[in-house]
């Protein structure tokens, strides 16, 4: 599977649009008072509560206008044509920024619709009048080869300058990725952080009553779109992890009656055992370079951590040797170290070792238990499940200091980092019903939101930003 989007370099507004300004004006015959066409509606009033953090860039008012098109033509990406697709693209950008509590975005449904030539020449007065500090414009163009070119522009309304622009060529089926790339461009430029929207999530979809829950492997985009079930639910699936290149998913399945890690190849649909062994294997994890898979294996009831080359056929190497439970594990971004959990002290605590298993030492000494540690992609923090009565998501420095609890529900478990290390995703179990749902929280702990999934959801695993 090829995930790479073609990046279009847009040199200047003149170069980008010189080829067809006439066509643009011809087809998109919008009245000058475009504001009259503004539709108040499913914009801000929808009722999603977003808490604004102390970060100053989070208070920025951003207008995200409908993307224009040079020519409204049919496209497989939208049954109503490229003009309708332009509106959809801008809605995806708006929802990315809105649902993540970033900035104060105003969406296309309550804004004037710019014409194609206004994309590179914004009507500043219009936007200043709406007290937008930042403005996102974009366009979509159907190419002769059937693909789409999507351009994305960020303007500072106050200064009347362009801050950044980028363009992508996508297959029609991947149009949402161009919108996520635009969200990433805006987010990165304004926050100084790395992008994260154009990424995917593997998780376990849950249906049925608690005593006979059906658990299926499923995948989706970071905003919940393009949802797809991978397993049919006949056997329990648990704890998926995307390979760093998104080509494979390692997960646990009871398909042969025993808990075993399988590596599922997304393109071919083939799956193979992570290691040929009659012992149960669980808790799979990839190394950041994708060359290794960590897994936990129980022999005669004693669970330890092993690693095996992901290419298959390699000899597994045992990394922990205590008679206690050692389980899970998460690599540092440079692949040199692993944080894992062990109950050798009498209860679950977090430990660090070198990637070859040497130099093991406990890092968590703050009271309560430390479980499911996950190293931040930025390297400076470790997220984990803090068990102290209830189960909370917490972070600490890599030396175990500066522990901070981010959530406060009855049972939050299994943190997984956004690719940029700014947001942590986890799952929440409801007391009594056992119903599960995926949530996200930022590092301040102030912005918490539920990710929409078609059914119950647990064991989320966030993959890296797509190339």
């Amino acid at each position: 599977m090829n995930f790479r989007l073609a990046l279009v370099t847009i040199l200047t507004p003149f170069v980008a649009f010189a080829a067809m300004p006439a066509a643009a004006q011809q087809v998109l015959d919008l009245p000058d008072e475009a504001e009259d066409m503004a539709q108040e509606g499913e914009g801000e009033g929808e009722g999603t509560v977003v808490t604004v953090t102390a970060d100053s860039w989070n208070d920025l008012g951003i207008a995200i206008a409908s993307f224009a098109t040079n020519r409204d033509v049919p496209t497989p990406a939208n049954s109503s044509g490229t003009a309708a697709l332009g509106l959809e693209l801008s809605r995806v950008v708006y929802n990315d920024l809105r649902f993540n509590g970033l900035f104060r975005p105003v969406g296309p449904d309550s804004l004037p619709r710019p014409s194609y030539d206004q994309i590179t020449d914004p009507a500043w007065g219009t936007w200043r009048g709406r007290s937008a500090e930042m403005l996102v414009h974009g366009y979509v163009r159907a190419n002769d080869d059937g693909r789409l070119t999507v351009g994305c522009y960020l303007y500072d309304v106050e200064l009347e300058i362009e801050l950044v622009r980028e363009g992508w060529v996508v297959n029609p089926g991947e149009w949402r990725r161009a919108a996520h790339k635009c969200s990433d461009l805006v987010y990165s430029r304004l926050s100084g952080e790395d992008p994260f929207f154009d990424s995917r999530i593997a998780y376990i979809a849950e249906t049925g009553p608690p005593e006979a829950r059906i658990k299926r492997l499923a995948i989706m985009d970071s905003d919940g779109a393009n949802h797809r079930f991978i397993t049919n639910g006949q056997s329990t699936a648990l704890t998926p992890r995307y390979s760093p290149d998104y080509s494979q998913i390692a997960y646990l399945s009871y398909v042969d009656g025993n808990p075993r890690i399988y590596v599922y190849d997304i393109d071919s649909g083939r799956q193979t055992l992570v290691t040929e062994s009659s012992n149960p294997t669980f808790a799979p994890r990839w190394s950041p370079d994708g060359r290794w898979i960590l897994y936990s294996m129980a022999i005669a009831g004693n669970t330890d951590i092993y690693r095996v080359p992901s290419s298959g056929g390699g000899r597994p190497e045992r990394l922990t040797f205590s008679p206690a439970i050692e389980v899970g594990g998460s690599y540092s971004p440079d692949g040199s170290r692993i944080v894992f959990e062990s109950d050798q002290s009498g209860a679950q605590q977090c430990y660090i070792m070198n990637a070859d298993g040497s130099n093991q030492r406990r890092i968590s000494f703050f009271g309560g238990r430390c479980a499911t540690p996950e190293w931040s992609p930025r390297g400076d923090q470790i997220a984990f499940t803090h068990i102290a009565g209830d189960f909370h998501i917490a972070v600490m420095n890599t030396d175990g200091r500066n522990m901070r609890t981010l959530t406060n529900a009855w049972h939050d478990e299994a943190p997984t980092w956004a690719p940029n290390g700014r947001i942590i995703q986890f799952f929440r179990t409801e007391r009594g019903t056992g119903n599960t749902s995926i949530w996200q929280v930022d590092l301040t702990g102030e912005n918490e939101r539920r990710l929409r999934t078609p059914v119950g959801a647990s064991d989320p695993a966030w993959g890296p930003v797509l190339p």
Binding site: P209, P210, E211, R213, K215, T236, L238, T239, L252, G257, N258, P259, P280, F282, A283, S296, A298, A300, G301, N302, T303, I325, V327, G328, E341, D343, S345, G346, A347, Q348, F365, A371, T372, T385, I387, F391, W410, H411, E413, A414, T429, R431, G432, G434, S458, D459
Partner: protein, 174 residues
């Protein structure tokens, strides 16, 4: 110093859990054995229309609940009560030498998923090792951990969790 504190805490936890342990409450909606009211079933006395020796229904009827042992939170030790149940299981397995069994290890919902899988392994193996120590050939026993995935009781109560922290011996039907 730290080590000492940990050791003391652990010991007191063990002592506490040892006296705290109560027989799990059987909630009314527990699955009923179809052959429930057989008074003191002696497997040899089974008449032809009844369940076959070595079958799951025959075993469950003979055990009268002794097919399951229960654990305290995060524990996997075999206490006296568990030992009595496992001796009944062993007697059965030694009497019916064709019978093969799976010992299933389970955990309650108040744990993290991976750890619960490891804990279920510990519990299943603790029960299996005890059966082997009583003379049951290891080759006739297998183990599987279901972690928290197959609760016997639902709901988020101490009573439900106590019923779910268990190892269950199940006959392998042929």
């Amino acid at each position: 110093m730290k080590r000492l504190i940990i050791a003391v805490t652990l010991t007191s936890a063990l002592a506490l859990s040892a006296c705290k342990k109560e027989p799990p409450v059987i909630v009314p909606d527990a699955p009923q054995d179809t052959v429930a009211p057989t008074p003191t079933p002696t497997p040899t006395a089974t008449t032809p229309p009844g369940p076959q020796p070595g079958s799951q229904s025959h075993f469950a009827a003979a055990m009268q609940g002794a097919d399951t042992i229960y654990f305290d939170t995060d524990m996997y030790n075999i206490d006296n009560e568990d030992g009595a149940a496992l001796r009944r299981q062993a007697e059965y397995l030694l009497q019916f030498s064709n019978a093969r069994a799976t010992v299933e290890g389970h955990a309650d919902e108040r744990g993290t998923r991976d750890y619960n899988l490891a804990l279920g392994e510990r519990r299943a193996n603790a029960a299996k090792n005890y059966l082997v120590s009583l003379g049951v050939p290891e080759s006739r026993l297998r183990t599987v951990s279901y972690g928290e995935e197959r609760p016997a009781a639902t709901g988020s109560t101490e009573a439900a969790w106590a019923r779910n922290r268990r190892a269950v011996t199940v006959m392998i039907e042929r």
